[in-house]
């Protein structure tokens, strides 16, 4: 039995959630005051994901950097693998907002796209 404590992020209440786990199975969730807290806790302990935002170096234009993000959320434990690829990448100006900058970043199956245009 493993007990994990989380803070719910759905609203300013910030309920302290306690999740009891047996291996990979959630056996009990307590501390939430609304259903959203329960759902959050479940996802957070079984499959936590995040959207990663950063910048990519731009060459051949006026801008130094273009902001970017993973097009959808990626597993939380892949954040630093994703960052390593983003830091190694360069984009050629001009970049158009929405353009794919990295395909299948760090084997997540998710693309990194530009969140602004750069000239």
């Amino acid at each position: 039995m493993e007990i994990r404590e989380l803070t719910c992020i759905n609203c300013p209440m910030g309920c302290l959630l306690t999740v009891t786990m047996d291996g990979d199975t959630v056996t009990d969730i307590s501390g939430y005051t609304c259903p959203r807290g329960k759902t959050y806790a479940e996802k957070e302990v079984t499959n936590p994901t995040r959207i990663v935002t950063s910048t990519v170096r731009v060459e051949g234009g006026r801008s130094e950097r273009v902001p970017c993000k993973t097009e959808s959320d990626i597993p939380k434990d892949k954040i630093f693998d994703v960052m390593r690829e983003i830091d190694a990448a360069t984009a050629q100006a001009p970049v158009v907002i929405g353009e794919t900058l990295i395909h299948d970043v760090a084997g997540t199956g998710v693309d990194v796209i530009a969140t602004a245009s750069a000239i």
């Binding site: 803070t7 992020i9 300013p12 209440m13 995040r50 170096r57 830091d87 602004a116």
Partner: protein, 420 residues
């Protein structure tokens, strides 16, 4: 160049953009935005993280993406704007003096002016931190600009003072780029930032948040080498014996935002000592007729969605004013903040000029659990809403209805209170 416009908007950030769009949609053709920076979008351009637009677009956008939607609309509508243009002065008669490299200095006569200059970070000089004044101390927003726009890392070993949202966001950003963020120290017993930022920016990366702590010493002659952090008591004074020294090459300050009202002040606009922003009526009109204010220059917001909403309102009311369609006179009812609420925006309302519903925004001065937000029409309590939590870091709002106000013909004062 001397010109006349119906509406001049000072600032092309989220507030200015939304105000311009709403003014045009309200039928005013002659609108111009004057922007100091080299592009529209304001601070959103450096806020590359996501979480913007949940209320407006029902999706999570990054700052630049949120800005892009408004900028595209401004361009599609053919709204005029000038970049790299600094407004120098606004006269009480609404003559706007500005300058840029192309036009030199010029004056625009405006029927209405919308103030949308945003806010500034509280600098070190306003914080009374003892110690040397070496390089390596940045406001969190400056560091954000350096990292996200210039692609330059200010340092590798970071301590952050203040738990405002920009500080929390930068704790994550610097960590992602390979820096070691040692801690975030917060003077108050609660964070000034949003809960989701504490979880996703600090907890995710194991960065400690030290509540009721502050920096008591800064070391380093040329460049910062270490800071000393101590716990503070209920009087917010450092407690002897609790000092801990952290070596670092960077100290980021995220200690509050202050509306940028130099232009408003020189125009003679009356400011609130609590928000540091203009005192406004239900139309978001300042003490100078025809001068309106919205966004962070009016009061500091946590969510850009509310900035856009508020600015759209200012755009509509300014358009009405420029078209000469505003009812003159009318009885003003005061809106007071009492019992736990620090201020309200707006601070007066006129029944004849208000829409059917009026959003009144306010902030609490402390953390309240299981408290009530109450609205009093003079002595009568007309609204009482239970809230599980109310915190200074999260803006609150109530809606006043015109119908309900009409039932109180002698109404003089509306009071917004937080009651336990």
């Amino acid at each position: 160049m001397n010109k006349a416009y119906d509406i001049v908007i000072v600032g092309g950030g989220p507030a200015g953009l939304a105000a311009a769009i709403a003014a045009r949609e309200s039928g005013t053709q002659s609108v111009i935005i004057l922007e100091r920076g080299e592009q529209l979008g304001g601070i959103l351009n450096q806020c590359i993280h996501n979480g913007f637009g949940l209320h407006t677009f029902k999706e999570e956008l990054t700052g630049p993406e949120y800005a892009h939607r408004f900028i595209q609309k401004v361009i599609d509508m053919g709204i005029e704007y000038k970049l790299d243009t600094m407004v120098m002065d606004i006269s009480p008669e609404r003559a706007v003096t500005a300058m840029n490299r192309e036009d030199g200095m010029f004056v625009i006569d405006a029927k209405a002016v919308i103030l949308a200059m945003g806010c500034r970070e509280r600098p070190r000089g306003a914080l009374n931190i003892p110690g040397y004044r070496p390089a390596g101390i940045f406001s969190a927003g400056t560091a954000q600009r350096l990292v996200n726009i210039e692609g330059y890392m200010p340092g590798r070993e970071v301590v952050i003072l203040g738990s405002g949202d920009i500080g929390l966001i930068m704790a994550r950003r610097m960590t992602l780029e390979g820096a070691k963020v040692k801690c975030v120290a917060e003077l108050m017993p609660y964070s000034g930032g949003l809960k989701r930022n504490i979880v996703q920016c600090l907890d995710d990366f194991g960065i400690p948040l030290l509540l009721s702590h502050t920096v008591v010493d800064i070391e380093g002659k040329e460049h910062i080498t270490a800071v000393t952090i101590a716990e503070v008591g209920a009087d917010r004074r450092p407690i002897k014996g609790t000092e801990v020294r952290y070596t670092c090459d960077t100290l980021l300050l995220s200690c509050g935002l202050i509306p940028e009202n130099e232009l408003s002040t020189s125009a003679g606009v009356r400011l609130s000592p609590i928000t540091n922003g203009p005192v406004v009526n239900e139309s978001l009109e300042t003490s100078i007729p025809g001068v309106f204010a919205c966004g962070n220059v009016l009061h500091v917001h946590d969510l850009v969605d509310y900035v856009s909403e508020e600015a759209a309102k200012a755009g509509q009311t300014a358009a009405r004013y420029a078209q000469g369609a505003v009812e003159k006179g009318g009885r003003e009812i005061e809106i007071h903040a009492g019992g736990g609420a620090r201020y309200t925006v707006p601070s007066t309302v006129c029944i004849d000029r208000m829409d059917d519903r009026l959003t009144v925004r306010f902030r609490a001065g402390d953390v309240y659990k299981d408290a009530y937000v109450s609205v009093y029409f003079d002595e009568a309590r007309v609204m009482r809403k239970k809230k599980r939590i109310i915190a200074p870091g999260e803006m609150e709002q109530i809606i006043l209805s015109r119908e309900q106000m009409k039932e109180y013909p002698d109404l003089k004062t509306i009071t917004v209170k937080i009651e336990r």
